[in-house]
């Protein structure tokens, strides 16, 4: 009920964070989120030892409030020097003109060799040809599956393309009977459909800011996804209706589950020790052969407003170092974005990480418009209707296009204006 109390508290926190500049040493204000925000505190002392005269002040933000806080800080001119930024937010903050372009710094820094980064995740930080972030860790989704059930259904390997995946799901459904399913795609998550949409050859948002869900590729993705629910291969259930997803997975309620690296630790911890050999991870199957997945994760960014960019860049350089990334991986389980780090025994010998290592070579960023998260939310809502049989495929793609076009209307107006003026309009003095 006390909206303004909460807002004042948030504002106070921002103000407190910004008025702390000691004169003698350089104090870097760094914002990081969630678990990474806790762990970065363990890595920072070494950086401070290596760089006398630089003190790092880390402020932790909860993931759920980070986006609002960053925007409020931007409007209030109270940005930190450096931050961890979800890379799907990079286009938005680049549009705002809040981020410092990093191309020149990267070229001048041999310790951050572009060639050592997986191209998909690197690309997610490029907006209109400029680099705005250095990938810190990768969050992508792929298949978690039950080996034993798949074997009983007559298959000795996970699916490589949709056709094979579909065959396996049909066989599993036949095997497990009416009360169980072959896959579980939570109705209240947009990510599985988002990934299938990314696998299509056409982009979901066109360059002139229109929804492109009518494309043949997306239609195929939608049909495949919708088919799993219409044919009873996957239940129409939201995460709120599944009390404990690990228990259900263990009981064989479903065999395939599309989720991310954070679940490796959870599965290891929550499934009984005797059942550990029964589950495995596999790269995403695609429409024809192995498919791409989303290039999610977090990047390290510098803010334009910072007066301590050189010191902040040193911290980015430090956090990108392979030995620090291995420590970071050990602390969080987060997947490093650098190719050389994946060759170290810690990652190369981890059976569950192997599929992620392969998926790393096939990542694709989500459409780089600030509105994407809102469009993805609509994707979920419209799909829910389609799953319940309220919309046909034709109506679904038409509705998606309509909603996306509505959300993107302002962007189209700006693009049109930019064309008229003939100069980029993203600058803020």
């Amino acid at each position: 009920m006390k909206l303004f109390g909460v807002l004042t508290a948030a504002l106070a926190a921002i103000l407190l964070g910004s008025c702390s500049n000691a004169p003698a040493t350089t104090v870097l204000n760094v914002w990081a989120m969630g678990r990474e925000g806790e762990v970065i505190g363990d890595l920072v002392p070494e950086f401070e030892r290596e760089n006398p005269g630089v003190t790092v002040r880390v402020q932790q933000l909860p993931f759920t409030a980070a986006h609002e806080k960053l925007l409020t800080a931007f409007v209030g001119n109270a940005m930190p020097d450096m931050a961890q930024l979800g890379n799907s937010w990079v286009p938005e903050f680049a549009t705002l003109g809040a981020l410092e372009p990093l191309d020149r710094r990267v070229t001048a820094t041999p310790a951050i060799p572009r060639a050592d980064y997986y191209p998909g995740i690197w690309d997610s930080n490029i907006v209109d040809g400029k680099l705005y972030g250095v990938p810190w860790y990768v969050d992508t989704r792929l298949l978690f599956y039950r080996r034993d059930i798949l074997k009983r259904a007559g298959f000795d390997h996970p699916p490589r393309d949709w056709a094979e995946w579909r065959r396996q799901m049909v066989a599993i459904k036949k095997l497990v009977g009416p009360d169980k399913y072959a896959a579980y795609f939570p109705l209240n998550e947009y990510e599985p459909l988002e990934i299938l949409g990314l696998q299509a050859s056409e982009p979901m948002v066109t360059d002139d800011a229109r929804g492109n869900f009518r494309s043949a590729g997306f239609r195929k993705s939608l049909d495949f996804y919708l088919g799993t629910m219409r044919d009873g291969l996957a239940p129409m259930a939201a995460t709120t209706q599944v009390a404990n997803v690990w228990d259900e997975f263990d009981r064989g309620w479903f065999t395939f589950y599309v989720t991310g690296p954070w679940q490796i630790g959870e599965f290891k911890r929550r499934l009984p020790p005797g059942h550990q050999s029964e589950w495995m991870t596999a790269p995403m199957p695609g429409p024809d052969g192995p498919g791409v997945s989303n290039a999610g994760g977090s990047s390290l960014v510098l803010f334009k407003s910072s007066t301590r960019k050189d010191a902040a860049w040193k911290l980015i350089e430090f956090l990108s170092r392979p030995d620090i990334q291995i420590r970071f991986h050990a602390l969080t389980g987060d997947l490093p974005p650098r190719i050389s780090v994946w060759k170290t025994p810690e990652l190369a010998n981890d059976p569950y990480a192997k599929a992620f290592g392969e998926q790393m070579t096939r990542l694709r960023p989500t459409p780089k418009v600030p509105e994407w998260e809102r469009i993805a939310t609509e994707l979920k809502l419209v799909f829910e209707k389609a799953a319940h049989g309220e919309l046909t495929t034709d109506q679904t793609v038409a509705e998606l296009n309509k909603r996306a076009d509505e959300i993107l209307a302002k962007r189209r107006w700006i693009l049109a204006r930019k064309k008229q003026v003939g100069a980029p309009a993203e600058v803020r003095s």
Binding site: M1, K2, L3, G5, V6, T64, H67, E68, L71, T72, F74, V75, E92, T95, L96, G97, N188, A238, T240, A243, P370, R374, K410, R411, W413, I414, A425, E426, V427, R428
Partner: protein
């Protein structure tokens, strides 16, 4: 003349403060609600357009707005009567001549009002926990199966109502208690001599005497409950399945999550109009009731 000037001098600080911190922002928000202020406008104010009533028209076509309105109405319908009844019951207990340690109980009942909402919300999340929560444990003792309070879309709003009522009833209790003490003792005595039962005395002496107080309390409570925000923000983030998205939460998301400040301002004014209309209705109804 001199006196008049002095009077203006005295009210000036209050007028300036009100003008600067109330009327000006409200007027600015009204102007904002006719624009499409969004992150593009934050980046460059040249990207701002006046759109007239578009925000309002678009709002009426947004399903989530209607859902939020329904959720808020459900919260108000459930919460306001419950809250006032709780307050009234607690006040009657405290007003009773047989009650002892009145000061102590007054403090205890009032304590939730002065606690920090975010802190107690966290504690209530523990209380409401499906597996380990005290509430489900107590329900289990009388044979009721555990309820997934904050995870089940049907129970999430009642859980929030429970929390809000607990948090707020003490405030109204104090106002009602003051009202009770203004009812002359002679009336009760006369009713008792005439043979009125306890319930009849409540119905025909206490409640009519309290009517003006109850009217104020119900208006204030309704206005407060319509502005449901912090409870879902802290406890459920609007979920599950948007079952606890209130109008204010919807406005907050539009304004501060997506930064559609023009649209969010339009929501604020629609909420204002709704509350204004409802207060008028309440006043009309109570006029008839008190006559």
């Amino acid at each position: 003349m001199n006196q008049e000037r002095a009077a203006w001098g005295f009210v000036a600080p209050a007028l300036v403060a009100l003008g600067l911190f109330f009327f000006l922002p409200v007027a600015a928000a009204l102007v904002l609600s006719f624009t499409d202020f969004d992150i593009y406008a934050v980046a460059d104010i040249g990207n701002l357009r006046f759109v007239g009533l578009d925000n309002y028209l678009h709002l009426l076509e947004t399903p989530l707005f209607w859902k939020a309105l329904g959720n808020t109405a459900w919260f108000v319908l459930l919460g306001v009567p419950l809250s006032i009844m709780m307050s009234l019951a607690a006040a009657l207990l405290l007003d009773n001549k047989l009650a002892r340690f009145k000061g102590f109980f007054r403090t205890v009942y009032f304590a939730p009002v002065v606690t920090t909402l975010v802190a107690v919300a966290v504690i209530w999340r523990y209380l409401l926990h499906t597996k380990y929560g005290l509430i489900n444990w107590a329900l289990g003792a009388i044979g009721i199966a555990p309820i997934d309070w904050l995870g089940d879309p049907h129970w999430s709003m009642p859980a929030i109502v429970l929390f809000a009522v607990w948090k707020n009833f003490g405030y109204n209790m104090i106002i009602i208690l003051a009202g009770l003490q203004t009812i002359p003792e002679e009336l009760h005595e006369a009713a008792r001599i005439d043979g009125a039962s306890a319930f009849q005395r409540l119905r025909h002496v206490t409640l009519p005497g309290l009517a003006p107080v109850l009217l104020v309390v119900s208006i204030l409570t309704m206005a407060g409950y319509f502005q449901l925000f912090a409870e879902p923000y802290v406890m459920t983030q609007g979920g599950p399945v948007e079952s606890t998205v209130s109008i204010l939460y919807f406005m907050y998301e539009q304004g501060f999550r997506w930064w559609n400040l023009g649209f969010a301002s339009a929501i604020a004014f629609v909420l204002f109009l709704i509350m204004f209309a409802l207060t008028l209705v309440q006043l009309k109804v109570s006029e008839r009731w008190t006559q």
